[in-house]
Amino acid sequence: MSAADQMLALDTSCKIFVDGGCGFQSPGLHSFIFKPMFTVGGLEFNKPMLLALLTTLVLCVFFWKAFANPKVVPGKLQMVAESGYDFVRRGIVYETIGKKEGEKYVPFLVALFFFIWLMNIWSIIPLAQFPVTSIIAFPAGLAIMVYVTWMSLTFKRHGFVGGLKNLTGYQKGLGAVLPLVMLIEFFSNVLVRPFTHAVRLFANMFAGHLLIVMFTIATWFFMNGMGWLYTPVAFVMVCVMIAFELFIQAVQAYVFVTLSASYISGALEEAH
C-alpha cells in the first residue's frame, strides 16, 4: 500500500448509474496513509505530524494566554482554562488517586487530557479532518510514557521485591492457587495493559474516521441521476456520525486519562 493509493472523498469521480463507471470506492487502510509534504534527512513529514505539532502549539498558546498573568477574579479565557483544569483535577485525579497523593500528577494528566482531546478533535475540523490518534504511533507513544511512569513509581515506592509483589497481586492467604493468580496478574498488568491502553484510543479513532469517510464518500457517490434520492440519507448519516464522534472523542480522552490515573494509583497503593 503506497502513498499514491491514498484517496479522499472528493478525489474519486466514481458515481452511481454511470455506464462503465467504477463502483463504490470504500475507504480502508489507504485512507490513513498520507503523501509526505517534505522530507528532512530521511524523515518524511506528513499531515498527521503537522497536526500533532499544531496541537502542541495551540495548547501552549491557549494555556499561556490564560495563565500568564492570573487574576483573582478570572477573565473569560482564564475561566475556561481553570474549569478544564479543575475538571481533570476534581473529576479524575481526586476520585482515583486521592487528594494527598494525586496533586503531584495533576499537571501531567491535565496536559495528557487536553493533548489527546485536541488530537481527536482534528477529526471534525474542516481542512484538518483527520484524528491524529488514529495513527497507532501516537497513542502508543503516550501509552509508553504512562507505562514508564507507573512502572518506575511501583519500584520506587515498594522496592524491587515489593514492586514485583504489587505487580503480581501477591496475597499470602490464597494458598495453592497463588502461582496461577500471580501468573495471570503479571501477564495482564505488565504485558496486556499498555497494549490495550494504546489500542483502545487508536481503534476508536480509527473506526470513527472510517465511518465518517465512508458516509462522506457515499454522499458523493450518490450525487447522480436517481441517486439524488439517496443523497440526503447519506448526508444525514454524515452529520449524525460527526455528532457521535464529537462525543466519543471526549469520552476517549477521559478514559485514557482515567486509566492512567488508576494505573498510577495502583502503583502507589500499599502492597497486600
Binding site: 487502510l29 479524575i92 483502545r200 487508536f202 476508536n204 478514559v255 486509566l259
Partner: protein
C-alpha cells in the same frame, strides 16, 4: 484416516465475519454495565458521580475486547 473433504467453504471477507462474532461478547457486557449503572443511579442519586466514573471505566475495559477484534484482521490478515 479418510481423505479430507471440504463440505462447506466461506468466501469473501472472513475478517468481517470474525469481527461480527467478536462483537457479541462486548455487546452483552456493555449492555450489562450501562443497565446496572442506570439502575444504581436511580437507587442512589447522590452517588451518581462515582457510579458514572466507574461505569465509563468498566465500559472502556469491556469495549477493548471489541476493539482488539477490529485490529486483529489488520495484524494477522495475510
Amino acid at each position: 484416516m479418510a481423505a479430507t473433504e471440504t463440505l462447506a467453504a466461506v468466501s469473501g471477507s472472513l475478517g468481517s465475519i470474525g469481527y461480527g462474532l467478536a462483537a457479541i461478547g462486548p455487546g452483552i457486557g456493555i449492555g450489562y454495565i450501562f443497565g446496572n449503572g442506570v439502575q444504581a443511579m436511580a437507587r442512589q442519586p447522590e452517588a451518581t458521580g462515582l457510579i458514572r466514573q466507574n461505569m465509563i471505566l468498566g465500559f472502556a475495559f469491556c469495549e477493548a475486547l471489541a476493539l482488539i477484534g477490529i485490529v486483529m484482521p489488520f495484524v494477522f490478515g495475510q
